[in-house]
Symmetry: C2
């Protein structure tokens, strides 16, 4: 295994870039190959079978780039396809859900944790499963928030409409008196300020992107495959299934490096 | 050509059912084979190349059902892929855009027409093109409304948030003093009441679904392929690329007949 091979990161679209941002911060010497499935976004309303098909195609594509490890930087894909991708893979795979659940379990004091995510992630019960494995006493309350992704993509990050919708979505979680809220979709860190305001200052927000980068570091070390480069990598590669130009503009607003090249590929061929 | 062969209707998802509803009303003796691309919805943010690829796959699938004509019941697919689908097809093809534009041109008195639609439809300039062909004097103002589809799918048809967002989207069109507004996306008839309230009673709303069914009737007659059945058809067929059960529930809320069977198919194979 080439220690300096890239890490493959994928998401249903642009949301996974919040995970890439954390990896770049915490692991500056690693090269990233990113794939965003912008042609078939969103995954959050799709069935398990469909998301598994898509994840398999993407892994097959990333393997052609000779990646040394795979990060599933999409909560929905992780919730629905992690087990299968891991089982079928001969290289290490990590997702965003387990690190997020771990951090939430460590953060809560009153044992009441809220999860906000897409319909498919909530329906899967994956966060409840991981959390009860870590601590059977914990109470988990999930809430699907299907309008957050379109609101983020429309750029209404601190808009009154986003505040109103967040108020409705978080109402039941506030009634449960949660003290920890997991941002269970990679788009949500982009409306973190609005969510903190609506949830109240007493609630700790957990961003799985941050925790995932930490877990990735541990996993690379455990497998002895961390890069031995000493310089910061800047020539990461980005691939999308549609709209490379639009993706590049968005990526440049949230990543600390210049995304110069992004390529469109036909993912259905894999 | 079998006069009693079915008519193929397709859309990116459930929106095209508003067109199906009109066809069932105006042409009760015709059998419909519907395909909704629920796995890859929405089309409104995708590139022309991708939408053309999807439309070709769908037409190929519908041909396996031996349809006698094709209705592109999706404004985005019609805006981006109509010419190619028509050129490559050996059976008649109609879309929703031309009938909608025709009705708008007939309706306006002050020559100022507003178009609300997805980003891709607005960017294509297709309504402007058809309208200026009919009447070069007409002024057309387009506005992309990307949040309407998720708001409709969330069921917020007359909600205060939908009213607020509609107020923002329609603001510039109101300033242009339009007297006619085209609902250029098949989801929008479902928020017709909210749009009428926000646009004001003096603005005529044009629903291309209604006009498309009228055009379909004329086209079948012109080609001598209208069905000679005398009974109302009830055994229409519905296919989707994902989530057949969810689709069926939605279809049963808006269609006048019972949708008993809906099948999932793998559209990428076509």
């Amino acid at each position: 295994m080439d220690k300096n091979a890239p890490i493959g990161v994928f998401d249903s679209g642009v949301g996974g870039l919040t995970v890439v941002r954390e990896i770049m911060k915490q692991l500056p010497n690693e090269r990233i190959v990113y794939f965003g499935d912008t042609a078939r976004v969103p995954y959050g309303s799709k069935s398990k079978e469909t998301v598994i098909t898509y994840a398999r195609q993407i892994v097959k594509f990333l393997k052609t780039k000779e990646v040394k490890a795979i990060v599933i930087a999409c909560n929905t894909a992780c919730a629905l396809a992690f087990d299968i991708v891991k089982e079928e893979s001969d290289i290490p795979v990590i997702g965003v859900v387990k690190p997020g659940a771990k951090a939430a379990a460590a953060s809560t004091k009153n044992g009441k944790i809220g999860i906000i995510a897409t319909e498919a992630t909530i329906r899967s019960g994956i966060y409840e499963e991981f959390l009860s494995q870590r601590n059977p006493e914990v109470q988990v309350h999930g809430k699907a928030c299907p309008l957050f992704v379109p609101l983020v993509e429309e750029g209404l990050l601190e808009d009154s409409v986003t505040v109103e919708i967040a108020g409705r979505y978080l109402q039941s979680l506030k009634e449960y008196n949660i003290d920890t809220l997991v941002l269970g979709c990679t788009h949500y860190p982009l409306i973190r300020d609005t969510l903190q305001k609506v949830a109240g200052e007493g609630v700790t927000l957990v961003n799985p992107a941050f925790e995932t980068a930490k877990s990735l570091k541990e996993m690379l070390e455990k497998n002895g495959i961390e890069s031995d480069r000493t310089e910061t990598v800047t020539d990461h590669k980005f691939f999308v299934s549609d709209g490379a130009e639009k993706f590049k503009v968005f990526a440049n607003t949230i990543l600390p490096c210049d995304v110069e090249q992004t390529k469109d590929i036909n993912i259905e061929q894999y």
